[in-house]
Symmetry: C2
Subunit: 493 residues, 2 copies
């Protein structure tokens, strides 16, 4: 056994244990008896302790120093391990423990504060989370991982991205999105909303058919219900969840397609990379690009709406809409709203840009938590033209900050930008794309994504992965062009 | 922190990880996608590696040497940890690994051989399993754990039991069981069997009601389907599984009550013992006593049959039988049969005694695997009066030997004996027992079991636990009296 082999064998066991942690999280959100919650916390804590000890094991440093990669994929695996180990090594064990303990408590405090619409109840905890995350970020900067504290945090989710580049891109996007939003909201033609009652069992059967339409492999996965839909797992056990509202079947339909996008990516990664450092998606942004292109560019297309209308007519006594065009309008209705997770394609990125600016200011110390609510509400009024009516529709709506996920939000818009690029490239290269979607088969599109991007897992750096897939370096142009073309046509502008 | 505290904190984390392993096993048998099997093997292997390293960690020996127990419960916890650690320390790491690898492969070979009715395909592997288990047993004998190799294995499942005592007890039981069997099979009155089709959904609803009737706490558990019913987990996450045959609802009904017996025991253990060495049942035999008394003495009683008849009449269009007496007869029908898991109360222990004698001879080297089939079939002819018609009805029917569970079988009959004792004691002390059962509420019985036995978990040694609960030392008399009274009356002898 060489140092490379030893290191990879060690990593493989660590990854297998990490998969177990993912399975437990799935269990907790889907089937766990509610009385088991406290005991489960102790069980997952024990497993997290094992994982932390392995991820900071000093032998990794020794192996890294001695290891020679046999090929380019091996070198990339070494780079990824070295990067994760190097980042972990920057952060004192005590600080890592403080953050873990603090964020697990903070999530509960945030949830209570949100339920009580009580911003003040969350602020001291949020201030503490920010202080500890800033401390960790500064340690990472000192270790060479990022030029600024925010970049060091961003780098955890989107390696290689910088706040300066993202800010410049967002500044280029904002005016075109705002102009499109204004035009659409002012349009004379407005699509009719969907109305009716759509029984749960029929929605869940439809969710199954949708997953099949998008190439999800049920021999290596399953669909269950959860309060907040997610996908979890890698390789041959990648599960998705969905949720059902009997008055809004689009919730189930599009959360299913979205999570299937994430899951299909994991299922498509080369079996050679299973349980290796290359056996996961390239980054959060690249992962989100897959869920978004499945959900939006493909799942909300006019072609797919034709098939979906037919399926809904069969699944429900009353499909709620008169024809496929009406369905296409309903699934793409643009409406101002407070909540990011319910936003349409035109508004979504405006929600992200606002969070990105606010969290950079929080981490930089230019904004204090005491001024956050006012800053949020002012910015929302200015970007969305509406006054926030309550904290749960404002700064308390997202879980992210309570659990320390600073630097995560921009990867959502990056995913949309990547999805725009991939869709543009795909349209020029994939024969039968629309015909397939119209027949309820996204195979032509998903095959292209699998071959050009998904199979490679973590082999390439994020922008490299997208550039190789598209044939051009990613930029915001294709997404904005797509949105303008689609919504100007749909709203007859 | 004292050495005692350090040891208990370490054990607690190990137990939390062991609970995770149990949750994964549940997942594998109930919800895991079939394509995930190989990957899952690697995941559980990684977790088993972590558990093995913790269970043989030399620090345990150091802590044990230095620890002072604060009280009697603490001393019992130390004894249990010391016993497990001492047993593990006897067995060379290489042999433990060999056995783990061998038995995981052997189970597959056994399953294939059974499907093919091919004894020869299993024998070389079985010989190897026996050789390695004998080697481990001899190492345990050398370390002071058991007077003979078989006792050393038995001690793993039923601490303190010896083959000599069990053999003597079984010798006392056999003639009375054989005489009862002969009388019952020769009786003029024979209960009618159940016939009909019993839809799955209705059976599963009934299973839920049965679990409630026996005090199962659904806020800390759940029921799912599995090929082979089992219960798993401790404390606040104890799940049971059942199986459904649409032509035989008794399969679902009694496997549910049986597993609920195991699960209710785990749920009833004092919360003070959660994730400690005392937080599990006292032994396999004591555990089986709970599943058996729930299933047989309570669940197959005339009183409970009254309520069950009413429930079946409501659950199924055609309950299949004319009245509660007919149901009582049908759930207690005595029929000769090849298969242990399908045996009635009269035959069951005869199956066990035969396996006990054969496996003792295998471990002692008095019987070779080449002579096993003939020995099995001769003994079956002599004990049951029927010739075995195929290996899957004979020596290939049970999984136990393939996975190295030598010394496990006798704990089933020990469980029946303990159940007989507990039932006798309970009848003298529990007011309203029959009335409760007749109303579909086993609470009077299960409360008595919880208070006298279940809540104590592993606090007492197995026979001590039963003796304290019953007020007398366990012996086979009450079981045999119960069986003779019940079946002589039922068969009008």
């Amino acid at each position: 056994m060489t140092a490379f082999d030893d290191l990879m064998a060690f990593q493989r066991e660590t990854e297998a244990l990490a998969q177990i942690a993912g399975r437990l999280a799935w269990d907790q959100e889907t089937v766990m008896p509610r009385g088991a919650a406290t005991q489960r916390g102790e069980e997952t804590g024990a497993l997290e302790g094992v994982l932390h000890a392995r991820r900071t094991d000093p032998r990794i440093g020794e192996w890294l120093a001695a290891a020679k990669a046999p090929d380019a994929a091996g070198q990339r695996a070494l780079d990824l391990v070295g990067r994760a180990y190097g980042r972990n090594a920057c952060i004192p064990a005590r600080l890592a423990q403080d953050i873990a303990r603090l964020t697990s408590v903070a999530q509960g405090i945030w949830a209570q504060a949100r339920a009580a619409e009580d911003v003040g109840a969350f602020l001291p905890t949020l201030a503490e989370v920010i202080a500890r995350k800033r401390e960790a970020a500064e340690a990472l900067v000192a270790g060479g991982y990022g030029a600024t504290a925010y970049d060091a945090l961003l780098d955890d989710y989107e390696p290689g991205a910088t706040a300066a580049e993202l800010a410049a891109m967002f500044d280029r996007m904002r005016p075109r999105l705002v102009a499109l939003r204004e035009a659409v909201l002012g349009a004379e033609h407005q699509p009719e909303p969907l109305e009716g009652i759509f029984p749960k069992a029929a929605q869940l059967r439809l969710a199954h058919d949708l997953a099949v339409a998008f190439g999800y492999d049920f021999t290596r996965g399953r669909i269950d219900e959860a309060v907040h839909p997610f996908s979890s797992g890698s390789g041959n056990d990648v599960r998705v969840t969905t949720r059902v509202s009997e008055t809004d079947p689009f919730n189930c339909i599009y959360s299913t397609i979205h999570e299937v996008g994430h899951a299909a990516y994991e299922q498509a990664i080369s079996p050679d990379y299973l349980l290796t450092p290359l056996g996961a998606g390239a980054s959060m942004g690249v992962h989100e690009s897959q869920s978004r292109i499945y959900e939006n560019q493909l799942g909300r297309s006019r072609a797919f709406a034709g098939w979906l209308f037919d399926r809904m007519a069969r699944a429900f006594d009353n499909p709620g809409l008169s024809d496929p065009d009406a369905l296409y309008g309903a699934i793409n209705r643009v409406r101002p709203g407070f909540v990011r997770t319910e936003a349409d394609e035109v508004h979504y990125n405006l929600h992200i840009m606002m969070r990105f600016d606010l969290e950079r200011a929080l981490i930089a110390g230019d904004l204090t938590v005491n001024d956050l609510e006012a800053a949020w509400n002012d910015r929302f009024q200015s970007d969305f033209g509406v006054a926030v009516d309550r904290p749960s529709h404002g700064m308390l709506q997202d879980v992210h900050w309570s659990v320390g996920l600073f630097g995560y939000f921009p990867t959502y818009t990056l995913g949309n930008v990547y999805a725009g690029c991939l869709y543009q490239a795909m349209q020029g290269q994939v024969a039968g794309l629309e015909e397939g979607l119209a027949a309820g088969n996204a195979g032509a599109a998903t095959d292209w994504l699998r071959d050009r991007l998904q199979q490679h897992g973590g082999l390439y750096r994020p922008t490299e992965a997208i550039t190789r897939a598209c044939g051009f370096a990613p930029h915001e142009g294709p997404l904005l062009d797509y949105l303008e073309t689609k919504f100007r046509s749909l709203y007859r502008l």
